[in-house]
Point group: none
Chain length 314, copies 2
DNA sequence: ATAATTTATACAAAAATTAGACAAACACAG
DNA sequence: CTGTGTTTGTCTAATTTTTGTATAAATTAT
């Protein structure tokens, strides 16, 4: 564990605190007490840096440094999580990444025991540790898959699934409105078409898009094509994103998709993703829909769509 | 258990009270007496904050601070629950009277134009102006009715309804976790039975119950009786609340309700409310379900059920 | 030598404290 | 309805505490 290698200037850059503040916090409150070289130079460890990051968060949230400086890490994390209740802000942590899978396990355990508070708590901590996008890619996305598997094998009932959806929904909903209204942000409609009842994929898309600067209008699940198209026209959306997950063999879905494409203005792009997407690939190709195979692809596709018009408009 | 570290400024933000008021309430009525630092700075605990939140609700409902400031928490919660009765009364303390209907209009307008940001904003302002419970009974509850009417008369499409549900859902979800887990709080399961697809009523119940000190496990819509009963057993719930709104003539629903009652432990109470409740009244009576005709009734019923186990808690 | 760190000290802005004053709203007796 | 005293939220002012930032001299790294 002798990994204390970071000089103060670098720590300052990594934490966003000035070297002055870091020293004074140590001198006055013993907030962190780094190792020293033989000549009394400070050498900070990863843990020290993480602690400083937490302290920055907590003080930024309104706590006084003098009161929180000596609290143990767990307590600090709790305070940060509590402060997230009001302002869903995502912060990118440094290079720690404390076992991303453990967050997943925590979430699964909380869902199994129907403990909403524990689930919310785990998600919050994951959000602070991994940042918004990291949370989505490394916890929520795998979680939806895991839930599907556990459900198929009978470990979880649909009550668990509903419960998890309800809790995660609120969490992602908060994540999806990080920025103040940017009026010139392009609008994205997110929904699942009629017959598709799984919601988490759509929520995921909405949250990611919002974090990429889109103005997301989230419509929820199982919506007829005409409704989606109507909403797109009304909001002058630039694109519509659909998530297809569960019924992989719905004969009516192709008709819905065709109708949707026909009802949408030509310049409105249609993004389609989700586990069940592959089953409808031919139909989607015919319609010129953009297939989204994974979250990375979603990000790059959204970025592509974001540029064209905002340039022309400026 | 050294959990007192919130400085007054932060508490002011969290409770919506000014620091002035918080201090004067302490000086005049000893409403809350926070810990002090060695230099006489106030340090509030989460419990203190919770108490201040309750006091804000109660005074906002029209009680005078001098009369309620010293009441124990349980009593305050009871008053808050009872304040749901004062639905008709419009005016109370201080010259606010911010025309509660205007909030409603704002919300409806935002929903019509599918503007999630505006809707969220209106709800937020209503929440600070009216308090959590005031928001629920004077904005959200009427809103669900208004939406139903507009939908029936064709002004709104189901896209609007989905959109509104999704946004309000997130908002109510946040409202439903007022503060730290109180471990001895009774558990309430909230859901709609299979076939019932309207969610807002259930969300409303969940949010209100959470604000009255229940630990709410929210399961969402259209859940089979066996699943609901399973969740109730697993969480050792004290009661199950169902919301019935849309299909008023579902022949299977009676069977679902009977099955649910039979699958639940005898001591678990069954609360049923919602616009469609009347249509199933006979069946409900036979099952010994507690009918919830309005929000006031919900408050008093929850308060009654709350007592048996927990008695005195500061 | 130049740049970075360390320690100690100083300083100023922000935040919190107490005490007191004041006006609007309210309750109630006449 | 009016007048009176009480309640309650807001405000000011003077003081103390907290906290971030700056300065200076000595020491160390490159």
């Amino acid at each position: 564990m002798n990994e204390a290698q970071y000089p103060i200037q670098l720590v300052a850059r990594l934490t966003g605190l000035s070297a002055h503040v870091i020293r004074i916090w140590e001198q006055r409150y013993r907030a962190v007490e780094p190792q020293r070289t033989a000549t009394r130079r400070r050498l900070y460890s990863q843990r020290d840096i993480e602690r400083l990051n937490l302290l920055r968060e907590v003080t930024h949230a309104g706590h006084s440094i003098g009161q929180v400086a000596q609290l143990p890490m767990a307590q600090l994390q709790k305070l940060v999580a509590a402060s997230l209740n009001l302002q869903g802000r995502a912060t990118h942590a440094v290079g720690e990444t404390p076992a991303p899978s453990s967050f997943l396990d925590e979430c699964v355990a909380a869902i199994k025991s129907l403990d909403g508070h524990a689930l919310d708590d785990a998600l919050k901590r994951a959000a602070t540790a991994l940042g918004a996008l990291g949370l989505l890619q490394r916890v929520v996305a795998p979680l939806t898959q895991t839930l599907g598997e556990l459900w198929r094998e009978g470990t979880l009932t649909s009550a668990h699934e509903h419960f998890a959806t309800a809790t995660i929904r609120v969490f992602l909903g908060n994540l999806a409105k990080p920025f103040g209204a940017v009026d010139d942000a392009p609008v994205l409609i997110v929904a699942t078409p009629a017959g598709q009842v799984h919601e988490l994929g759509a929520l995921l898309v909405g949250a990611i898009a919002a974090n990429l600067g889109w103005q997301v209008t989230y419509l929820g699940t199982s919506l007829p094509a005409a409704e989606i198209a109507g909403a797109a026209r009304q909001t002058r959306a630039r694109a519509v994103a659909l998530s297809l997950v569960y019924p992989e063999d719905d004969p009516r879905l192709e008709g819905e998709l065709t109708l949707l494409r026909a009802s949408l203005p030509g310049e409105v792009k249609l993004l389609v993703g989700g586990r069940a997407m592959a089953a409808y690939r031919e139909a989607l190709e015919k319609l010129g829909a953009l297939p989204i195979g994974n979250l990375a692809q979603l990000g790059s596709t959204l970025d592509l769509l974001r540029k064209p018009k905002s340039k022309a408009r400026q």
